[in-house]
């Protein structure tokens, strides 16, 4: 039960990040590597402000700084014409310094004794078990983000962003400013990622400079696992499946760790393998099909 509750909490919190990854990876059709940096940025901002006694502002600043980081990457991608992958790596790399600065020149920060949103919620409803208040805090953040994205991608601006990812040629021939749409999408994506980091910092009660390493792969794994279960349909279904994928991912991880199947440090390797397997599936399927067609043709030729 504790295992399940913990996975649900983490799944919802990291589901915010999965939503962000979905925006760049599936809607904009451009993988964005800023994630590793912007997650830690949100985490660091939230932890520092919580330590100062302002946990609410920690969340707000996590979102805002994440969006700012995304804007930088978007700017590099479009106006400076740097390859999208490289733009993300550059921002992520630069953010390492920024994150250390935000954490106050140290590589980790404990929030022991500082009240944060999860402990405040628990104090507000002392009768309710802690796991349930934690769930509701994580759930309401996740739903707020989901509602915003679901609304945004149905607005005119949202349609323009989606079209940019779907058919660049068409958008270039229309009156939509492609560069602006790319920057907006990357900013929104990293705002979600920063949001996720900000909530994670308060949930786990500490911030570490290396928390963001491999986060992008975790997010991708969540999005892909979600698609395995729910398929690829509309954008809103995509958001729901990203959050569910994140929860399922956390459950798999928790079960695997509990069963002593592999040590905790194997986590990133397993995440990477999940993503590799899912992404290479279409190519493998195609090759198997081709081989069977060939066999069939050879048999007919033999007759």
């Amino acid at each position: 039960m504790i295992l399940f509750a913990g996975s649900l909490h983490l799944g919802l919190i990291y589901g915010l990040m999965a939503l962000g990854i979905y925006v760049t990876f599936r809607i904009l059709n451009t993988p964005d590597l800023t994630t590793d940096g912007s997650f830690t940025l949100g985490l660091a901002a939230s932890a520092s402000l919580t330590a100062m006694g302002m946990p609410g502002w920690g969340i707000v600043c996590g979102i805002f700084f994440g969006a700012l980081a995304g804007t930088v990457t978007g700017f590099l991608q479009t106006k400076m014409d740097i390859h999208p992958i490289l733009s993300g790596i550059l921002t992520m790399s630069a953010l390492y310094t920024v994150n250390l600065y935000v954490l106050g020149d140290r590589s980790n920060l404990s929030l022991l004794g500082s009240p944060h949103l999860f402990s405040m919620a628990a104090a507000l409803f002392p009768a309710i078990p802690k796991d349930i208040t934690r769930f509701f805090v994580a759930f309401s953040f996740c739903m707020a983000c989901f509602a915003f994205l679901a609304w945004f991608f149905q607005t005119h601006l949202g349609l323009c962003v989606r079209a940019t990812g779907d058919n660049d040629d068409m958008v270039r021939a229309s009156s939509i400013d492609v560069d602006a749409m790319r920057i907006i999408a990357t900013a929104i994506s990293n705002a979600c990622v920063g949001f996720s980091g900000a909530v994670a910092a308060q949930y786990q009660g500490f911030a570490d400079i290396s928390s963001g390493v491999g986060m992008m792969v975790v997010g991708l794994a969540s999005v892909i696992i979600g698609e395995v279960f729910f398929g690829r349909r509309s954008v809103i279904a995509g958001f729901v499946s990203a959050i569910c994928g994140s929860i399922i991912y956390r459950l798999i991880v928790a079960l695997a760790l509990k069963s002593n199947f592999f040590p905790a440090y194997a986590l990133k390797l397993v995440s990477a393998l999940i993503v590799i397997a899912a992404l290479s599936l279409p190519a493998l399927k195609g090759r198997i099909q081709l081989a069977s067609v060939r066999r069939e043709a050879k048999r007919h030729a033999g007759n």
Partner: protein, 254 residues
């Protein structure tokens, strides 16, 4: 009305590959005038379209559309006034978005507030009504993803998208060349109807000489970035395909 004055463009200037793409080209196209544009490969037809849509800037000359000088405007600002249709049906529509979302994108581009709902209730019946006119059954599939449609259906949708916001100019870049004959004929008659109804200034690139004479009100031929033939009215009515073909082999014999 489209007015092009003394358009000049040289690519790869001062290199061995230097190529004059537009050579002091001037053209006036009135509203309701439907021009078919012919010429051999590399004559400057697509270059002319690109100059109008803002794919590159002219070395010299000017372009005015509906009285507004657009010579220096960036492409997405010109696109408010220009409808453009590609040869490839997949280029003009977004495959993972629904028919109504595609139309909403094209239709509402003139309105201002970007965070209003993409597809509003009023748009819905308006789109259905427009789609019904094609007689392709698209009006009952507004919630379907465009990727599911056939090439002809996608091109019809792209055509509607490029004209639904009432542009000042419609540019058609061999827009029926990739379609089967039946679909091509259908798209051509829809195009003709829309141009007449909206009294658009329209230009169509084609390599089909019969099509060039059958549709529109005026035909021009480009060669080496210059207009070498410009016929309309009676002269055009008396033109035949074999005589037009002569111009391909011996350009400048006007």
């Amino acid at each position: 009305m489209l007015v092009i004055e003394g358009a000049q463009k040289t690519f790869f200037r001062e290199t061995p590959n230097e190529r004059v793409a537009l050579n002091d080209l001037s053209l006036v196209l009135g509203d309701g005038e439907f021009l078919t544009l012919i010429g051999s490969n590399g004559a400057g037809k697509s270059t002319l379209f690109n100059a109008i849509t803002g794919g590159f800037l002219l070395d010299r000359g000017s372009i005015t559309l509906g009285g507004e000088d657009i010579t220096w405007l960036p492409p997405h600002k010109r696109a408010f006034m220009i409808g453009y249709l590609f040869q490839n049906p997949t280029k003009g529509t977004a495959p993972n978005m629904t028919i109504e979302e595609n139309l909403a994108l094209a239709y509402s581009r003139r309105k201002t507030w970007p965070l209003r709902r993409g597809v509003s209730g009023g748009d819905h019946s308006f789109f259905r009504e427009h789609l019904a006119r094609f007689g392709m059954g698209l009006e009952d599939r507004v919630k379907d993803k465009v990727g599911l449609l056939s090439g002809g259906q996608r091109q019809a949708l792209a055509l509607l998208m490029s004209t639904i916001a009432k542009p000042r100019l419609l540019l058609l870049d061999e827009h029926t060349a990739a379609l089967d004959p039946a679909a091509a004929q259908k798209i051509m008659s829809i195009t003709d109807g829309i141009v007449k109804e909206q009294r658009l200034a329209a230009m169509m690139i084609t390599h089909n000489t019969q099509q060039a004479l059958d549709f529109g009100t005026r035909t021009i031929m480009l060669e080496e970035g210059k207009i070498v033939l410009d016929i309309s009215g009676e002269k055009r009515a008396n033109m035949t395909v074999p005589r037009l073909m002569e111009h391909y082999f011996h350009p400048r014999v006007t």
